[in-house]
C-alpha cells in the first residue's frame, strides 16, 4: 500500500507522509483535549477550584458563580464539539486513501455565515444575560436600596487602615472624633447589604475578598463605594489584588462577618479599647 500521497498545491508538489506521523498528531491533539477535560472534571474534588470551600458567601457572589457556571457549560460544549471535529478531521486526513478525493469547503459562504452568526448569538446572549448582575455589582442605581455604609477602607503600602462610625452613627466622609479604627481587620454585619468607601493613600491597590467574590481597585484620588451582602457569619481572607510594590504580599487582612448583635458588641468593645485612658488599669493594679 502506498503510504505517501502527493498533493498538488499551486503547481508545487508537496509530499506528505500520511500514515504514522499524521495519525500521531491526530491522536496528540485529541488526547490533549481529553486530558484538559479530565483535569477540569476532577478539579473541584481536588481543591483546584474556587477559593475556600468552593461556595460564594455573598448574595451577589452566588449569582456571579451561576454566571460562571453558565459560561463554563457553553464553552465546554463548544470546546468538546470543536475538539471532536478537529480530531475527526485530522484522523480522516491521516488515514485518507490515495484514491479518495479531498473535499474542498474553503470559501463556503453558508459555512462562514453559520460560524459568524452562532458565536455572535452566544456572545450577545451572554452580554445581555449578565447585564443585571453587572449592574447590581457596579452601578449605584441598581445597588440594594437599604445599603448601609459601614466603613472607610484606606489602602496604603502595605496595609489596610479602616475607619468606622461610632455605634449608632452614620459614616461621614470626614473623620469624626468618635470614629473607631482598626488595621487589617474589617468587621461587617451579615445578612444585609453594606458598603465600604474604598480609598488609597499612595498607589493603586485592589480590595479583594475571594470568598465573597468582591474585587475593586482602589484608585488614588477616588473614593469608590463597594457593596456586598455577606451571607454567613465567618472569617474571610482579604488581600490586595494589585501589585502595589515590594511589600504587596504583606497586605494580608481579614474580614470578620458577624451577626448584628456581635457586630454591635464588637464595636462597643473596640471603642472602649480605643478611648482607653489607662486609669481603670491603674486602679486595678493597686
Amino acid at each position: 500500500m502506498n503510504d505517501s500521497v502527493a498533493i498538488v498545491d499551486g503547481g508545487f508538489q508537496v509530499s506528505v507522509k500520511a500514515s504514522a506521523v499524521g495519525r500521531f498528531w491526530a491522536a496528540f491533539f485529541f488526547l490533549t483535549a481529553v486530558i484538559a477535560v479530565g483535569i477540569s472534571w476532577v478539579s473541584p474534588s481536588m481543591g483546584w477550584w474556587f477559593p475556600g470551600d468552593g461556595v460564594a458567601h455573598s448574595k451577589l457572589g452566588r449569582e456571579i458563580d451561576d454566571l460562571f457556571h453558565l459560561i463554563l457549560v457553553i464553552v465546554s460544549v463548544t470546546f468538546i464539539g470543536t475538539q471532536v471535529a478537529l480530531g475527526y478531521v485530522l484522523w480522516r486526513g491521516a488515514t485518507i486513501k490515495p484514491e479518495e478525493k479531498a473535499l474542498f469547503s474553503h470559501g463556503s459562504h453558508t459555512l462562514e455565515v453559520i460560524w459568524t452568526i452562532v458565536p455572535s448569538g452566544i456572545l450577545l446572549f451572554i452580554a445581555l444575560y449578565q447585564m443585571e448582575v453587572w449592574a447590581q455589582y457596579r452601578m449605584i442605581k441598581s445597588s440594594p436600596k437599604s445599603t448601609e455604609p459601614i466603613a472607610e477602607v484606606t489602602a496604603r503600602q502595605f496595609e489596610w487602615r479602616i475607619r468606622y462610625p461610632a455605634r449608632g452613627k452614620v459614616l461621614k466622609a470626614d473623620p469624626q472624633p468618635d470614629d473607631v479604627y482598626t488595621v487589617n481587620e474589617l468587621h461587617v454585619p451579615t445578612g444585609r447589604s453594606v458598603s465600604i468607601s474604598l480609598k488609597t493613600e499612595d498607589v493603586q491597590h485592589s480590595f479583594f475578598v475571594p470568598e465573597l467574590r468582591v474585587k475593586q481597585d482602589a484608585v488614588p484620588g477616588n473614593t469608590i463605594p463597594v457593596w456586598f451582602t455577606v451571607t454567613d457569619p465567618r472569617m474571610y481572607e482579604m488581600v490586595c489584588a494589585e501589585l502595589c510594590g515590594w511589600g504587596h504580599y504583606k497586605m494580608k487582612a481579614r474580614v470578620f462577618a458577624e451577626s448584628d448583635e456581635d457586630f454591635d458588641a464588637w464595636k462597643a468593645r473596640i471603642a472602649a479599647e480605643q478611648f482607653e485612658d489607662g486609669f481603670k488599669k491603674a486602679a486595678e493594679a493597686e
Binding site: 473623620p175 472624633p177 497586605m251 478611648f275 485612658d277 489607662g278 486609669f279 488599669k281
Partner: protein
Amino acid sequence: MAVGFAVLLTVGCGQGPQAQFSVRDTTEELLSPAQKAVKKALDDGFGTPHELVAWQRLPVNYGGVHGAVGEVLADGKGITAKWEGDAAGVTAGAPLLWISGARAAESTSVDSVGSFDAKTKTLTWSGAAEPAPAAGDKLVIGFGQTLKTGRMVYMKNCMHCHGVAGDGAGPTAKYLNPLPRDYRSGVFKFTSTLTPEKPTRDDLTRVVKYGIPGTYMPSFLWLGGKETESVVEYVRWLSMRGEFEKRLDDDLSGDFSQKAIEESAEKALAEFKAAKADEKPEKPRSAGDLKKEAVAKFTNETDGYEKTEFPGVIDDTANFLAQGWTHGEDPESLILPSVPRVPDDAASRERGRRMYLSDKGKCYTCHGIQGRGDGAATEDFWKKPGSDEVYERRGLHDAWGHPLMPRNLTLGQYRGGRRPLDVFRRIYAGIKGTPMPGFGRTALKDEEIWDVVNFVMSLQYQSAPAPAKPAEHVAESK
C-alpha cells in the same frame, strides 16, 4: 542553545551571601586587638545569625518547655524517666538543657530527647550515662526554640528594612522616609515606660501588630501569636546585642581607638609646628608610636587591659543590660495616669490650648502655633549632642542623627497609637531618642497633661483656621 536557556533561567538563583551581623563603625575604628576582643565577646555572647547563642544572663525568653524529672526508670535502654511538665512541644531530637541537679553541673554533656511517649509521659534521652539525674532535677526541652522561630520570622519580614543586626540598614531601608529603626542603641520611640526605661514586650508587640501609621512600618496583625511573640523576643535580643557592642565600644574608644589616637597625634603635631622656635617644645610622638603603645597596653600578658579590665567590663555591661530590660518590664516603670481623663469639653481644651502656648508647655516652639509641626525650632540650626558642631540641616534631629519633623498634629496621625492613654504617655515621658521631652512628674500635673491631650486630639477636627495674625494667640496666653 538549551544549555544557554537553562543558564538564563537560573541566573540569580542559588545561595545568596551568608547573613552576617554588621559591625559598628565605632568597632571598626578600634585598634585591631581591641576590635578582635569586642568581636569575640559578641560571638561568645550572641553567636552569628546562623549559630545563635542564647546567653542566659540576658532577660530573653529563649523558649522551650520547662519541666522536671519525675521517677527515674531503669530499663536498660539508655536513661529513662518520667517527665513532669507540658507534653506539647517535646519532640524527639530536641536539645535538652539541665537547669539543676548533677547533670547541670556537668556542662560538657550535650543531651537531646531520644524518644517521648506522650501517653505515659516517659522520656528517654541520649547523652552520657553519668552523672545520673535524680527526681526533681529541672530541665528545659527545646531550649532556644523561640529565638530560632523569631529569627525565621525576622529574616522573612523585618530584615529587608531593619537589617540582619537590627541596624536599620537593610537592603530596602534606603528607599524609606522615615528610616527604619536602628535597634542597636536599645532605644525605641513608642513605649509605655518612663523616660529612662526600656520598652516592654507589650510595647513592641503593639508596634508589630498595629504598625506605625505615617511610616513604612506596616501592621503584622495576622502573623500569628507564636510568631509575633518570637519576633518580639528576637528584636529584644538583637537590641541587647547592639547595645552590648555599643557599650563595649564606648568603654574602649577612649584609649584604644585608632581614630582618637590619630586625631590627638595630629593635633599635637599641629601645636608643635605652630609653637615658636625659641619655646623649643618637645617633638610630639607619632601616631604609629602611640598606637604601638596602646596595643601593648591592651594586649600585655600580665597587666594588659584585655586580661585585667575587659572581662569585668563585659560582665558589667551584661548586668547593666539585664537590669535595664528586666526593669522595663517592672510594673513601676509603666506610665499610668493617676487621674482619669479629664472630660473632653471646651473648657478642658481651652486650658490645654493655653498650656500648649504657654512657657511651661512650650509645645508651640516645635509643633507650631496651629499645631502644624512648623514651630520656630524647625528653622534653627541645632548643635550635635556632645559637640560644638551644628547639624548641616535646619531643624530638629533624632538620637540617630537623622532630620526629624515635629508631628503635624492636625493630621490625626498617631504613630505611637491613638488611644488617649498613648497620647498621654507621649506627653508624660516624651518620645525616646527624639527632642520631644517628657512633661510628667515635674513640669505638668496629670490633669494638665489630660487638658493638653484633649486639645491636641481636637486639632484634627477643627475647621481650617482663618489666616489670622498668629501673634495674637501668643499674646493671649501671657
